[in-house]
Symmetry: C2
Subunit: 268 residues, 2 copies
Amino acid sequence: MGKDVDQRLATIMAGLVKHLHQFAREVELTQSEWEYAIGFLTKTGQICSAERQEFILLSDTLGVSMLVDAINNRRPEGATENTVFGPFHVEGAPVRQMGEQICLDGKGESCLFTGRVIDLDGKPIEGAHIDVWSDNAEGYYDVQQPDIQPRWNNRGVFITGADGLYSFVGIKPVSYPIPDDGPVGKMLAHLGRHPYRPAHMHYMIRAKGFQKLVTHTFVGGDEYLTSDAVFGVKKTLIAPFVRVEGGETLWRSDFDFVLAPAENLAGG
Amino acid sequence: MGKDVDQRLATIMAGLVKHLHQFAREVELTQSEWEYAIGFLTKTGQICSAERQEFILLSDTLGVSMLVDAINNRRPEGATENTVFGPFHVEGAPVRQMGEQICLDGKGESCLFTGRVIDLDGKPIEGAHIDVWSDNAEGYYDVQQPDIQPRWNNRGVFITGADGLYSFVGIKPVSYPIPDDGPVGKMLAHLGRHPYRPAHMHYMIRAKGFQKLVTHTFVGGDEYLTSDAVFGVKKTLIAPFVRVEGGETLWRSDFDFVLAPAENLAGG
């Protein structure tokens, strides 16, 4: 490397080259395996488009995305843990009133999501923006089916009051496969891995003075909880989904989000 | 991973994931660095075409190609060493008579290349096919300039007789930059590295009963010998290029190629 190279870049490249070489030596990579890898990376790049990011999928399915998230989001004890952001968030979802419906296509089993946004001492946080999104009852996000689903289907932003309470009505999420018709899907098949993610509701919660929280709540009991294709599950994020008899919704899921103060920000 | 996974694939993927994760942890990769890497890999894939392989260039410039070559081509003491194949070989070059000219565009300083193809005991090898190729005096291979250079410019195949001798007339090769207008070129620039390869003549030598030899001879004294962008230089491959006074060519380069027997084949 040259003399005037950015110190951080030099560190990253030295580490990358060291581990790439150690990997090739350790497995004694053959010429034809190297050629296969070159072909795989090329196809992975070429299938990428404005609507599809196959390299993120690759990073997700190799557990790299979750690791980078863990490195950059060390949380104090008691704070709600992060998980992967995923490719389906859309900025600018409509702000809704507490208790409002986010499911616009009328499909699926209705569910009340409710709880509080609190700090490490259990005090309610006022003015927290809770951005939520999930797939529909058939396992697709609205952006995957722009011609079929209503815009902003199963999305919304809710802003807490002084009590820190939130509530909204959506559907009990369903598990779905990540896009598996490309190189990454082929890789999973070769590895005997399924492409499914366990059912989950996405949350991004932002409040002044607190670290941004990007997380999911997972549906307890989902068959893919222990084999999430992108390794996103953390035990603390598994939420109860209780069947309600004679209520306005078929299910109810209670979950409190505990935000860490902004001064505990580590690395991100 | 599943139960019925190919054992070799399982080994490779376990090694890859281990080193990818160790790398990310060691350098404490940030979220924005991860995003940059995803973007870099995507661009690298998308610039690939039938005429351009940017992932091979990436592998070359990170020293991975040379390492894979070394792992798969361990040679017994005394045999000529391998180096990178490169992207510019074309199968099917015309077979020429010993001593014939391969430079068809009349440019450059003429050079006689001569020597013997021998075995580890120094005995001549008969019927060895010597496939040679180099850039022209302006630093481009014919396939890079199909509209400018004659077809098969600076290429040819020579077949040894019982004496093992070879000779042909080409030009003294010149150093040239690898394609540096894409992501890899940008990476080299950020790293303060130039994109040049020291001047070299390519050889692929095949003979019955011997390991295929893919190598170059390098022009001694080239300013890039110690900083080859693809790390292809080995000391034993640096050849003399002697200026000839009043000869038919301006330069002469003598080099013997020592082939290893096929039974010593290790891994490739």
